[in-house]
Symmetry: C2
């Protein structure tokens, strides 16, 4: 035993010099080592992610964020930490995910970082949930500049803080040069649906009104123009923004609201087709009522793109009860981003499952689902 103890002592002496410190990030570009889960990964995560997304769950750096929320106790909610909320009796959870592959990564009005937060926040919001916690998983191409990664991560942090959500868990993978286009981000989100709140296509009735929360097509046209492949310049910025405060204002003012969906890929045209299919009713839109900025309309005209199919990242479509329409509009218009909210159509019993557009010239045309992809990698 004394021999063993002596050996142990020598071991202790010899390795005393190796006392562990968290590794520092010295690189200027991302390398395969940063995705290997070892020392370089730890340095990247410490220097880029933990710093930007600072919150108690993330700093634990375990495999999962635990205790992001506590279940409700009898008679009251159990408090939680930084995330600031709990699930009370009768409340339900919502869970959503999206990958973001937008090209270019940065564009007028925002970046993939903003989209990755707002997109998932908005998916939760239009399902009736109050967004709370996000995860973020990065697939990074070898050689990506760390300074640029920091900018995008800072955009995510700003977007999360602005939306009142916490990024509590994450992952980083690195793929070789030529195996990605810079950076892809996948976020998932968990939100809490208040007790008694229910939205669904099954609640939609003929006579209901279709409302959009603001001008259409800004995001898609901003990204398209930012690619610089078209001989066209216009002052158009992405509308990337969280919509959950607009949603809450709408539901407070118009509690009979039936259904909501954010009009991202595929635009309002595709969202309305999903609505028509899910309800079996007709969605009839009025072209003259669609809020579209002149610059977006002009660019769409020049490029032969129908603005109904252009992506938005801070806009949603809601179906409201006819007698709550005025209250719904007033509530939306009182919110940042909702100033140009408009009633753009109505639900009719027939023809089943069809979206039609009453044009400004008095005609009517069918609005089909988006076919093909005029704008790939828009979000």
């Amino acid at each position: 035993m004394s021999t063993d103890a002596g050996r142990e002592d020598r071991v202790l002496d010899r390795i005393e010099a190796f006392r562990r410190r968290r590794p520092r990030l010295l690189d200027t570009v991302v390398t395969l080592s940063h995705g290997a889960g070892g020392k370089a990964s730890a340095a990247l995560v410490d220097a880029v992610f933990v710093d930007a997304f600072r919150n108690p769950e993330l700093e634990q750096l375990g495999d999962a964020a635990v205790g992001v929320l506590d279940a409700g106790a009898a008679g009251g909610a159990v408090g939680v930490g930084a995330a600031g909320g709990a699930v009370g009796v009768g409340e339900r959870l919502a869970f959503s995910t999206d990958s973001y592959v937008v090209k270019p990564l940065q564009f007028p009005g925002g970046s993939i970082g903003h989209l990755a937060v707002h997109g998932t926040v908005n998916d939760l919001a239009v399902s009736g949930a109050r967004p709370r916690w996000l995860s973020a998983a990065f697939v990074i191409e070898e050689g990506f500049e760390i300074a640029r990664l920091r900018e995008i991560v800072a955009d995510m942090a700003t977007a999360a803080s602005g939306a009142g959500v916490a990024i509590v868990t994450g992952d980083t993978k690195v793929v070789g040069k030529g195996s990605a286009d810079g950076l892809y981000i996948s976020t998932a989100g968990v939100g809490v649906v208040p007790a008694g709140r229910r939205l669904g296509a099954d609640l939609v009735r003929p006579g209901d009104r279709v409302v959009v929360s603001g001008p259409l097509g800004d995001h898609g046209m901003a990204v398209l123009l930012a690619r610089g492949e078209l001989a066209l310049e216009a002052d158009i910025a992405s509308d990337t923004a969280p919509v959950h405060r607009m949603v809450e204002a709408l539901l407070a003012a118009a509690p009979a609201t039936r259904w909501m969906r954010d009009a991202t890929r595929g635009g309002v045209g595709t969202v309305c087709n999903e609505l028509a299919q899910a309800t079996g009713f007709a969605v009839v839109l009025d072209e003259a009522a669609l809020p579209i900025r002149p610059a977006v309309l002009g660019a769409c005209d020049l490029l032969g793109i129908d603005p109904l199919y252009v992506a938005n990242e801070g806009k949603f479509v809601a179906v409201v009860a006819a007698d709550e329409t005025d209250a719904a509009l007033a509530a939306l218009r009182g919110q940042a981003g909702g100033e140009a909210a408009a009633v753009v159509g109505e639900i009719l019993a027939e023809p089943e499952g069809i979206v039609a557009l009453r044009t400004a010239f008095g005609g009517t045309r069918i609005v089909d689902m988006l076919v093909g992809d005029p704008l790939p990698r828009i979000c």
Copy 2:
């Protein structure tokens, strides 16, 4: 009004022929249109994903899965649907995410589909949570074969069903040829931590034992050999598997268990370094006690790779109280995948934050964190 009504009738007649049907998938490869959010996207989602992952939440196809679990009501849990569980009083949620970029996509013992489910299930499990719901987001390279996508999605469905979790929400993006390497999958997971269960590096004490749940290095070596770049053949299959049942058995038999981590990227060597850093104690491993299959050990020797750094996808490291070690081992060995569980080391007070390996020849060497990346894109 009669004019309006007449026009409406004509509209109805004209569009009667366009009655909506869900589009059918006729393509054999993924195209950019499948990522556009329109008709082709709907066809792909319907034909490939909804069918495989069938559950009530996913079939709603909204922006988020709502009601995946209900908060506990006073005196008892509120039942939920297919996901089969609820959050009771005092329970907490865990939330985790990972992106999967393994190359090749299919290998002996599994595929990226198995990894995408097991990896996230295991992250939740080692945090003490019972895994319940997963999200899945796909970034697919244009031209990817739909038949192969179906195989991988079927692997995910099999893995989810085997692990008792539901894939309740998802997303599909498509990027152009050369902007990804086939397919990347990001999953996030939500699990429930039972009331009173707590694990953490702060609970670890000198004298505790380090246990691994089974043979090390199978996954990493299986993937490396599957690449076919080495003039080496060996009968090695990935160990990809869910560990949550092993974790539950361990915690039932050894309730004082301090800390757990699944040993994926970076292997047991890196996990033990994270443990040493988080606790400030020394982790001393016995080389002779490490369970490693002869084929894996042989391949590692030939290639000059330290098996301590090779990835596993169905193994975890646990720190258990010394007096519960026998019970812990017996419990693990009674579970599928845990038959070769072993005590591989112990926690010492000093030297602070160091991992040391007592070699089979009586020497001792430092086990640093993984530096560089001998095996990129292993998961």
